[in-house]
């Protein structure tokens, strides 16, 4: 995000490699546990064979990573939190499947999306199945955590899922109603609800709750998770415009094609001349299939000329720095450990990644 010396770059590479290695470990544990609980029966072709498709694609494993690392940082065992991590990952992948249906996306992590390959109906049902299957590990928590903590985790998940669908509804509503009178605050609120609760805040809360047997004040992770999640989402939106498509795994400028109200679009709307704003409004009001590459390129050029991407980068950076500050507060009672380093490294990793 900023110019760095050779030493700085080397340190960044080492940190990135360290974080990716640790996340991969957490992810492997989670995916293995997830695969073990999938039903081994019919219907396979149109359901159970498709459920692991997204989880097995090359994701970062951020959510189970934060959950399991938080648990370990506060002295918990990975076996104690594994069911919850599996549930979060299943919910996440269910969201992705339904997201691809809602957005009409064609590729996900470098491969065709489920709706593109298997049709809308099958994809919706696979997403439904993932939501239902995520309840199983939460029920298994009963044997590991006992009824009180199982219930606590259940209420965390309930809040997480509800916030996500509410945030998604906000964003879908903006597109459907062609809402353009939006501010940064609207974007930040939508992102908190759609992304941050389930990507960062609840994974950290749940990990620490499990480790402390429910004793920790989980609200201490709210700011940390929110700032980190918002920085992550803004960075993700930026990468949608500037990343290498082969690495990114999704179509570049896809968010512009979809008319998503990203921070860059909101910035452009507030910076543009009345004529440009009207052209942008008309573009956003055009059904996706009728939008054309010329207009998408125009939107992108306007973003460049008004510094909308730089503005978003600066916001992501500010939020990441705030997240680092909050990290010190949220994890102040956790003794120094490798897991604590992982969590701190994740914040930096998320804003430094180039894919």
């Amino acid at each position: 995000m900023t110019a760095r010396s050779g030493t700085g770059l080397a340190r960044q590479r080492r940190r990135t490699a360290f974080v990716e290695r640790q996340l991969h470990e957490y992810r492997t544990l989670t995916i293995d546990a997830m695969l073990a609980l999938l039903p081994q029966r019919e219907p396979r072709r149109h359901l159970y064979d498709l459920v692991p498709q997204y989880p097995l694609r090359a994701g970062k494993g951020l959510r189970p990573g934060l959950c399991m690392a938080s648990c370990a940082a506060f002295g918990g065992r990975s076996e104690a939190v594994l069911n919850s991590a599996v549930a979060i990952e299943l919910f996440h992948n269910a969201f992705l499947v339904h997201d691809d249906v809602e957005d009409g996306s064609l590729s996900r992590r470098g491969l065709p999306t489920l709706p593109a390959e298997h049709g809308l109906a099958i994809a919706v049902n696979v997403g439904d199945a993932m939501n239902v299957l995520s309840i199983e590990p939460l029920m298994r928590n009963l044997q590991v955590l006992g009824p009180e903590l199982t219930w606590t985790i259940f209420t965390e998940i309930q809040h997480m899922a509800r916030q996500s669908v509410e945030g998604q509804a906000m964003e879908l509503g903006w597109v459907r109603d062609n809402v353009i009178d939006l501010s940064d605050a609207d974007y930040l609120r939508m992102t908190l609800k759609k992304t941050c609760w389930y990507t960062c805040i609840h994974p950290c809360r749940i990990g620490a709750l499990v480790a402390s047997r429910g004793a920790i004040d989980a609200d201490r992770f709210n700011r940390f998770g929110y700032f980190m999640g918002a920085a992550f989402q803004i960075q993700d939106d930026i990468l949608n415009l500037v990343a290498d498509e082969a690495k990114y795994g999704k179509e570049i400028d896809g968010d512009i094609w979809e008319g998503k109200r990203t921070l860059m679009v909101i910035h452009l709307l507030s910076s543009a001349t009345p004529q440009e704003r009207e052209r942008l409004r008309a573009f956003l009001d055009t059904p996706r299939v009728e939008r054309n590459a010329r207009d998408v390129a125009w939107v992108r050029r306007r973003m460049d000329s008004y510094g909308s991407i730089e503005y978003a980068k600066s916001s992501a950076h500010d939020l990441a720095v705030a997240a680092l500050n909050e990290f010190e507060e949220a994890y102040s009672e956790a003794p120094p450990s490798m897991e604590k380093k992982v969590i701190e490294g994740i914040v930096l990793y998320m804003v430094e990644r180039d894919l």
Binding site: P147, H159, L192, N222, R223, V321, A322, N325, L348
Partner: protein
Amino acid sequence: MLRDATERVSATSKRAAKAATATALGASRRAVAAAPTVVVKAATILEEEVAMGLRAVQRIEQRFLDVDALRAKDSDAVMSKFRRDAHDAVDIILDVLTAAAQSVGAQAGRLVNVTAGATPLRKGAAPDGIQVPALRVPGRVTPGSTGEIAMSLENPGDVGTTTFTLQASDLVGGSGTRIPSASVTFNPPTLSVGAREAGKVSVRVRVPDGTPAGTYEGLVRATELEGLRAMLAVVVG
């Protein structure tokens, strides 16, 4: 709220800046003492959303105090039902919610419902399905002293209330003796409750010297808000 959030962000930043180590963003950590606008906005939004969402869930959990007992008493039955499948899992949540609501009603909980634009009651008609909640000041209050109870005002509607002022009637004892309404005070006395939000009010009853022992009851109402009403009871002695 914005100022609070700013102060908290700034305070946190100062703490963190002191502890900042030589990392890639070390310089930026110190710079955050200026609390960037986006961070302040985010902090404010989080406060609002937590107040509306997570704390509401926690409030519901608090209302499950009796459900804890329920769980303890028959946790096997609850959990075996919980295990069956997703539909039953949803069912059990509904069961628990229903049980909690009934229990709260039966035990005269301190939760008072407020809804903007509530239809005024027809004269003499009992509101359908509405139970008037009771506020019972904990313990016994001796004459000359003051009892206090917290009242939670929850607005489940989609419209915020207008600003209203809480008032109490005289509290009347069995023998007809009264504790005058002026002895009942509310803090804050005036408030509004946003859509799907909750407000807290502290109700204080000062029992005048010489008040005979016994139970005294009266009605709490609000100006500009027909739907808000609760029974207030205090045991003197």
